[in-house]
Subunit: 268 residues, 2 copies
Amino acid sequence: MPRYRMIVEYDGGPYVGWQRQDNGPSVQGAIEKAIFSASGDTVSVRGAGRTDSGVHAMGQVIHADLSKEWSPFKLQNALNAHLKLAGDKVAILDVETASEFFDARFSALRRHYLYRIISRRAPLALEAGKAWWVPKVLDHEVMHAAAQTLVGRHDFSTFRSAHCQANSPVRTLDRLDVTRNGELIEIRATAQSFLHNQIRSFAGTLKLAGEGKWTPEDVRAALEARDRKACGPVAPPDGLYFMQVDYPEVITDRRKPVDENDEGDDLS
Amino acid sequence: MPRYRMIVEYDGGPYVGWQRQDNGPSVQGAIEKAIFSASGDTVSVRGAGRTDSGVHAMGQVIHADLSKEWSPFKLQNALNAHLKLAGDKVAILDVETASEFFDARFSALRRHYLYRIISRRAPLALEAGKAWWVPKVLDHEVMHAAAQTLVGRHDFSTFRSAHCQANSPVRTLDRLDVTRNGELIEIRATAQSFLHNQIRSFAGTLKLAGEGKWTPEDVRAALEARDRKACGPVAPPDGLYFMQVDYPEVITDRRKPVDENDEGDDLS
C-alpha cells in the first residue's frame, strides 16, 4: 500500500475539529470522503495534531495509505476537486509519496502554532472567526516577557484542559514569542508536542499580562502552582492556527508509539 | 443636525454591495438600520465609494447626519453593538464629528484600493472569498511593469464596465503597484476616483501579463484602443478591498457636486 504525506489547510469554523466524531462534520472525515470519492478507497487518515473545533490550519500534516499508486500531482488535484465539490473549507497544499515508516503524528519532531489576537475597540468584520478580538490595549512586550517564563521543560498542569488525556503534564516548550504589527498581536509557539488547550491557555493568560492585570512573575507563579485553577481564562479557538510540522529528513525506522496520548499532539 | 464621519470595515461577501437595493441586503442598509436602532433616526448615509457585491472594505468612509449630539465613543459602541446583534459583517472602526461641509464622497481627494491574488495550485480554504485564486505561476515584476503603462491621466474606456454611469472615461491614476509576498500578490491602486470595474479590469488584465500571455506593450495597446473589448477578463470581486480615503485637513467649503457620477467614485 503506497503511503502519501500531505500538507493541509483548513478553516476550522464549520467543523467539530480535526477528529471524526458523531456530532458533526470533521476535517478528517472531509478528507477521508474526498479520498473515497477520488479512489474508492476507505481509509483512515492520521493527522499530526488533533485540532479542536474552530481551530484553523495552514500546515496540518497527514498521511494516508491508498490501494494504488498515484502521481502526487493528480492525487492533489483530485482531492481538491472533490473537497471543493463537497463545499468543504479544506485544501490539500502538497502531496508527496512517503516511506512506509513515515507517520504524520509519531514521526513529528516539532509542531508550530500561531495564535492571533486583534486588539482594537471595534469588533471584527473581515477577520470574524479568524482571530481573537480583544477590545483592550495590550502591551505585547510585557506579554513576551511573561511568555519567556514558560519556555523550557516544565510540568504544564496549569495550562492543560481537564479533558486532556496525556499521561504526563510535562512538556518542553521550545519557543513562545509575542510580536505586534499594528492592531495584530501574534503568539508563536513551538514544541515537540502540546497538551490539550495548552496554547489557548497560554494566550488567555498572556492577555492578562498584556492588559496589566498580571505581571510576568504572576505567570511564572501560575506555572509553578501546577494547578488548573491558577490558569487565566482559555482563549477562543478562532485565533489558533496549526502552522507547520517538522520531521527528520530521512525516516528509516518506525518510531514506537509508546503512548498515543503522550507522544503525539493532544488537541491544542 | 450634527454630522458624523465614520471609517467602516466590512466583508462584502453577504451583501449586494454598498448601495441599498431591492434584491438583497446592502452595507449601506445595514448601517442605516443600526443608526435607526441606536438613535431612532431615519437617515441616508453616504459612502466615499459604492463598492460592488463581494467587494470588501477596511477603510470605507461615510457620513451621516443625526438629530442629536452623540459622543463619538458612544455612537461607535452603540452602532457596533447593533451591527453585531443583527449578524452583520460590518464594523465601525472610528467615529468623528465632522464639519457640515464634509461630504464622504465629494470631499475625497484620493481613494486607495488593494487587490489580492493568491497564486498557487491548491484552492483557497482559509482565504476563500477574500482573494482571487489563480492556480498559475505569475511574474509580479512583469505585472508591475505592465501596470506602469496605465499610470497617469488617460481615457480608460477599455477598463470600464458597460454599466458605468460616469460621464467621462478620463481618470488620473496616481499609482498602480504590484508586489509579491510568497504566494500573495498585491495590487495597490490610488486615484481621486475610479470608473466602474476599473480596478477589477486592471487586475484581470495584469494577470494575463503575469502569466506571459500579454506583454506590457499589449497592455498599453489595450489602453490606447479605448475599447471595452480590448480588456482582459474582469477579476472577481473577492480580491478587492477599499482601503482608505484621503480628505483635505480642513474643509471650509462645500465642494460642488457638478456631476454625481463623475466626481465621486463609481463602483470599483
